[in-house]
């Protein structure tokens, strides 16, 4: 029997799962859409992973979760490690590329830059208020141009003269894009211009004041877009690496963390068949009106959070679930 470590990264747009062994080899992996239902997505994810592991005699001994729904899924899967996505990505990338100095990451709704020195994270930055220049921006523009977002990169590479598009704000970018199309710019030029705009926006906002040093790894969903990759290379003047498993890096990183934690907790793929439910309510006990989330497993309350003070604490019957 091989010991397996499961890492799950539940983002706003996509859910990623990776199973590794104790030498960090990937035994199974899957990437699917969250579709606004993190628990449902994880159930589907677990089913696929279980199928991939069939006949390999792997036993999952530890689970790690990351991404925006890490807490919820951590409770659901009885995780040993619940880690923020910045650390998870950094750990994942430095495990595969120990010499990396800069990580660019553009996901569905957020973008970040992580600065690494000698294998340790020393600085990071994340987009703050808006999602301009992230995956969701690109896919909404692709929709507007009537091009599938998956082909965006390929089309961008055919352009000779990328159009200049203002990308500071999604709303302005959209009106600029419409204007450029109306005055006769070619579609591939506009698409290449969009890729360039994403990069300009990223370098000016997220990368502002940061020391960008090669080797650079580019990951997150948008890294699959070769147009954006090329625009990055033009902007920083050196090669930008895209790992074939770049989209799984968060899940991989948290699996590594789960392995390193040494905490082994029972886990079974049967979780996928159990019924999990969440309810949210507004706490009426004081003027803060905290939104409290309760998680139920087979109609039994297993965890709750969201309260700012003890008034809103929901009592959990610990006797029944050890």
């Amino acid at each position: 029997m091989i010991k397996g470590y499961l890492g799950i990264d539940i983002g706003s747009i996509s859910t990623k799962g990776v199973v590794i062994d104790n030498k960090n080899n990937i035994l199974a992996s899957e990437y699917l859409w969250t579709e606004g239902d993190p628990m449902g997505a994880v159930k589907r994810l677990l089913k696929v992973l279980e199928k991939q592991l069939k006949g390999k005699d792997v036993k999952i001994v530890s689970v790690g979760t990351t991404g925006s729904a890490r807490k919820l899924i951590g409770v659901m899967t009885n995780a040993s490690v619940v880690k923020n996505e910045i650390t998870a990505h950094a750990i994942g990338t430095t495990t595969l590329h120990p010499d990396v100095n800069t990580i660019f990451e553009i996901g569905g709704q957020d973008s970040k830059i992580i600065i690494i020195e000698n294998g340790f994270v020393v600085d990071y930055a994340m987009n703050t208020l808006c999602a301009a220049g992230t995956g969701s921006f690109l896919s909404s523009q692709a929709h507007r141009l009537g091009v599938p977002v998956e082909e965006f990169g390929k089309i961008a590479l055919t352009s000779q003269h990328p159009t200049n598009i203002a990308a500071r704000c999604t709303v302005f970018a959209e009106s600029d894009l419409v204007h450029k199309a109306q005055i006769g710019h070619k579609k591939e030029d506009i698409i290449a211009g969009l890729c360039k705009a994403v990069v300009t926006n990223y370098i000016n906002n997220i990368g502002k004041g940061k020391k960008i040093k090669a080797p650079i790894v580019f990951q997150g969903g948008v890294s699959k877009n070769v147009g954006v990759k090329k625009a990055f290379e033009d902007a920083v003047g050196c090669e930008v690496l895209v790992d074939p498993n770049g989209h799984l890096m968060g899940a991989f990183g948290v699996a590594v963390l789960a392995r390193k934690s040494g905490i082994e907790k029972s886990f079974s793929f049967d979780v996928a068949d159990m019924e999990f439910k969440t309810t949210g309510f507004e706490c009426p006990k004081c003027a803060n009106h905290c939104e409290i989330i309760c998680v139920f497993k087979d109609n039994e309350l297993i965890d709750s959070w969201g309260n700012k003070c003890d008034n809103g604490a929901v009592k959990i019957n610990r006797r029944n679930n050890g």
Binding site: N84, I86, T87, N118, A287, N288, K308
Partner: protein, 306 residues
């Protein structure tokens, strides 16, 4: 007669001074409760968009007080420690009186517009006379109150120095104005989150003001604002004694927007995190940022130990 004291802005700088002064004179007062979401929302509805979050919160507190007292206490202060202040402290009295003009809100206040140690006493004397007290009564109440505030701050400073020496945890210097760090809506969740992450928050505001202002020249000689000088001074005093610095700013703060950049340019070798808060309460983003920031501190320590 009952005076209403808003728990906002200058309250956090003068808590003991004000309450002791009114206690000594036997003036009845009511202090608005700790900031909560209702107060923030009420304030945001009353304010124009451009005002900063702490000003919105002030308006929320006044809104809470307006029917519960006869007069609202809100001083107009232009200088502190001989240096200038953010314009909101000069403007707040007039801003509130204008915002609540249809409500015919009565205000009681003192004005400090001159530099020097006597200005504050003179200002209190004038306000005391307005409230109908004799000079001797006011003098006694003021100096007792001044003592109380002094001892309160001294105790706070000493307590923190002890923690700084004894604590074995990761020490994180939290840079935030008095009215932000102590506010239940802005600063408290950050301090609590840092403690949960097993860090020891060191509050810049709790360092001695005069020592800090003197030390601030190491980072900038020309910084004009008294409260920012205090915070910057805390950085130059403590930057080698702490493991990290968290700068907590409210949106949109004019002085901070410049001072934060300056600190980041001039202070190296200490991980710095800037957190900007606005009226939305997005604790998830804050948690992710603080968590990964504390990871960076731990990674740095690990590397230094290797």
């Amino acid at each position: 007669m009952k005076i209403g004291i808003p728990r906002a802005l200058l309250y956090y700088k003068n808590e003991k001074l004000w309450t002791t002064f009114f206690d000594e004179l036997g003036v009845e007062y009511i202090i608005s409760p700790e900031t909560n979401k209702e107060i923030v929302n009420a304030g945001a509805n009353l304010a124009i968009d451009e005002t900063c979050l702490p000003t919105k919160i002030l308006l929320g507190h006044i809104d809470w007080l307006k029917d519960k007292c006869d007069m609202v206490f809100l001083p107009r202060v232009a200088t502190a420690h001989g240096y200038g202040m953010c314009t909101k402290f000069l403007a707040q009295t007039d801003l509130v009186s204008n915002t609540f003009r249809e409500h015919k809100l009565k205000l009681v206040f003192y004005n400090i517009d001159k530099r020097g140690t006597k200005a504050e006493y003179k200002a209190f004397k004038k306000m005391g006379k307005f409230l109908g007290f004799k000079r001797s009564q006011i003098k006694f109440a003021f100096f007792t109150a001044k003592q109380a505030q002094l001892y309160y701050e001294m105790f706070r400073t000493q307590n923190q120095e002890r923690i700084l020496q004894e604590s074995k945890k990761n020490k994180v210097l939290v840079l935030a104005h008095a009215y932000n760090i102590a506010d239940a809506f802005i600063g408290e969740p950050i301090v609590r989150a840092l403690k949960q992450l097993d860090c020891e928050p060191i509050i810049a505001e709790y360092c001695d003001a005069k020592t800090c202002i003197k030390a601030s020249t190491e980072i900038s000689k020309t910084l004009p604002w008294a409260y920012n000088k205090h915070l910057v001074g805390a950085v130059s005093l403590l930057k080698d004694k702490v493991d990290g610095i968290v700068i907590l700013t409210t949106f949109p703060c004019g002085p901070d927007s410049m001072v934060n950049e300056m600190i980041m340019h001039k202070v190296k070798n200490v991980p710095i995190l800037v957190l900007t808060m606005d009226a939305q309460d997005a604790t998830a983003g804050i948690e992710t940022r603080l968590e990964s920031y504390v990871d960076i501190i731990n990674f740095k320590k690990e590397r230094e130990n290797e």
